[in-house]
């Protein structure tokens, strides 16, 4: 099995599993309980909070634990917009956000807010000039993702957040794809809120966090007990929270080295594909990109059929994002980049991680080129291409 779908999810690091394990069994207290068992659990989640805060240069009280990236995004957007709605009703985001951001904005539109969805260029980048122009006196909030999950393209967040700051606009970034993979220093990066999800950085599924800069108001969305300083109700999922802290620590320590190693693999993969498979496009290749991500557009064949054939060969990839796998529409990200539908349908995302090797990359290039050849043989289009191979 060659797993190249790390942007969809990653396995827990063995050390993460080890760290979590006692908290399912012996150390199972409820952090809200005053007795020893409860306080032991409380201590464990507070230590995780401190570790996470250290990794991103934040304060402990700025971290809210959530059930994952989706909840963190929902809480950030709805929580801030509802808190500041008296100041204005205009919001800004981009066309390439994850659905956990886009769908919240769409719901807010129905509730009477006006939303500007910023375009991207063919390289997948938001233009800070566009952002600046979109701002009106009514603008209260903006959310632009740190790196895109499909293309891996890294947005100019520092610049965007600075512009927002100048205009007194609260700025959120969905860092689900960057937490653990890129350095995040909230002492310097002027964003107000930042979302992360543990299962993207070798932590468990079902936990994540929202960073909320001190002083930023937020209306809680999950109402219950006074957990998370009254900002998120619900018994804390202690083992997962502990695991997330451990995972982020590991990723932060190994980050530089891992990024170099993974980028070498990714670059090899891309060169191989470009050399072996005619008429392919690698999206965002001239932009700053996550070192682990490669989104390949293959003409004349459709993405799912490549994905399934790769799966037959024991290679796990996505076509577009995993979340839209039930949909017939091609990726909204590729459409936003300006690719026509028929090309956007032919995408394969390779996303690499900790356990990939150079041997695997060689195998993938070999298998992938023969799959594309086979599918182009079935396809009514692009015969010339095949014949030229």
């Amino acid at each position: 099995m060659i797993y190249l779908d790390y942007n969809a999810t990653s396995p827990c690091h063995p050390k993460v599993i080890e760290t979590m394990l006692p908290f399912f069994g012996e150390k199972f207290g409820n952090p809200s309980s005053l007795h020893t068992m409860g306080q032991e659990a409380k201590k464990a989640i507070e230590e995780s909070r401190a570790a996470i805060a250290r990794c991103i240069s934040a304060r402990e009280e700025e971290i809210i634990f959530t059930s994952g990236g989706t909840e963190a995004n929902n809480l950030a957007i709805r929580g801030v917009v509802k808190a500041y709605q008296k100041k204005g009703n205009h919001l800004i985001t981009s066309q390439i956000e994850h659905h956990a951001v886009l769908n919240v904005f769409k719901a807010l539109e129905k509730e009477g807010f006006t939303v500007t969805y910023l375009p991207v260029n063919q390289e997948g980048l938001v233009d800070p000039g566009d952002f600046q122009k979109a701002i009106t006196p009514q603008t209260i909030f903006a959310s632009i993702m740190h790196a895109n999950n499909e293309t891996g393209v890294i947005q100019p967040i520092e610049e965007l957040a600075s512009i927002a700051k100048e205009h007194g606009i609260i700025f959120h970034t969905d860092a689900v794809q960057t937490a653990g993979k890129l350095p995040i220093d909230l002492g310097k990066l002027p964003v107000d809120l930042l979302s992360a999800s543990a299962h993207k950085f070798y932590g468990p599924k079902g936990t994540g966090f929202l960073y909320v800069r001190k002083g930023v108001r937020l209306i809680p969305q999950l109402l219950g007990g006074a957990h998370e300083r009254g900002r998120r109700g619900g018994t804390e999922n202690v083992p997962l929270i502990v695991g997330m802290g451990k995972a982020l620590e590991i990723c932060t320590q190994e980050q530089e080295e891992e990024n170099q190693r993974i980028q070498a693999l990714r670059d090899f993969l891309e060169s191989g594909i470009l050399a072996e498979v005619p008429e392919v496009i690698i999206v965002g290749r001239r932009s700053p990109r996550l070192s682990n991500t490669s989104l390949v557009l293959v003409r004349y064949v459709e993405g799912e059929s490549m994905l399934l054939n790769l799966d037959f060969a024991g290679i796990c990839v996505s076509s577009g994002s995993a979340c839209t796998s039930g949909s017939l529409e091609p990726s909204h990200v590729l459409l936003a980049c300006g690719y026509p539908h028929e090309i956007a349908h032919g995408s394969v995302r390779f996303s690499l991680g900790k356990w990939n090797t150079m041997e695997e990359m060689k195998e993938v290039v070999r298998v992938f080129s023969s799959i594309v050849e086979k599918l182009r043989h079935i396809s009514p289009f692009g015969k010339e291409v095949i014949r030229n191979v």
């Binding site: 059929s305 399934l308 037959f312 017939l328 043989h377 009514p380 289009f381």
Partner: protein, 128 residues
């Protein structure tokens, strides 16, 4: 998500390719939507002697194309025209709801190819 049968037909599609000098050709779908099927028929004495296809599309699109050609081979035109999308899907052991449109496409491809054949006949350029 896909049945064994779908995966099997997708993996080893039957009747892939063009027919030289076909008696009927049907092209349905649209690359913009991500599915195009082209069906080629060889027809003799009202019977479909051979059927082939070329498809751009997802796993279900390729599997339904393959199954559709299998289902109509050896059938009379009337029999072939009565092959519904449901029949194609059932023969594949079912399709996920959001993939049923692929079986519709397959039905349409059969009908388009037969119609093409019938039209050629009417215009006198059939081969009898």
């Amino acid at each position: 998500m896909y049945s064994e049968k779908v995966l099997e037909h997708f993996r080893n599609p039957r009747n892939v390719g063009k027919i030289e000098n076909p008696d009927g050709v049907g092209k349905v779908g649209n690359p913009v939507c991500g599915d195009v099927m082209v069906m080629y028929l060889k027809i003799k004495d009202n019977v479909i002697e051979d059927a082939k296809f070329e498809t751009f599309g997802c796993g279900a699109a390729i599997a339904t194309s393959s199954m559709a050609t299998e289902l109509i081979k050896g059938k009379t035109i009337e029999e072939a025209l009565s092959v519904t999308n449901k029949a194609v899907a059932e023969a594949l052991g079912g399709l996920p709801p959001h993939k049923m449109h692929c079986s519709v496409l397959a039905e349409e491809a059969i009908q388009a190819a037969i119609n093409d054949y019938l039209q050629r006949q009417n215009h006198g350029n059939g081969k009898a």
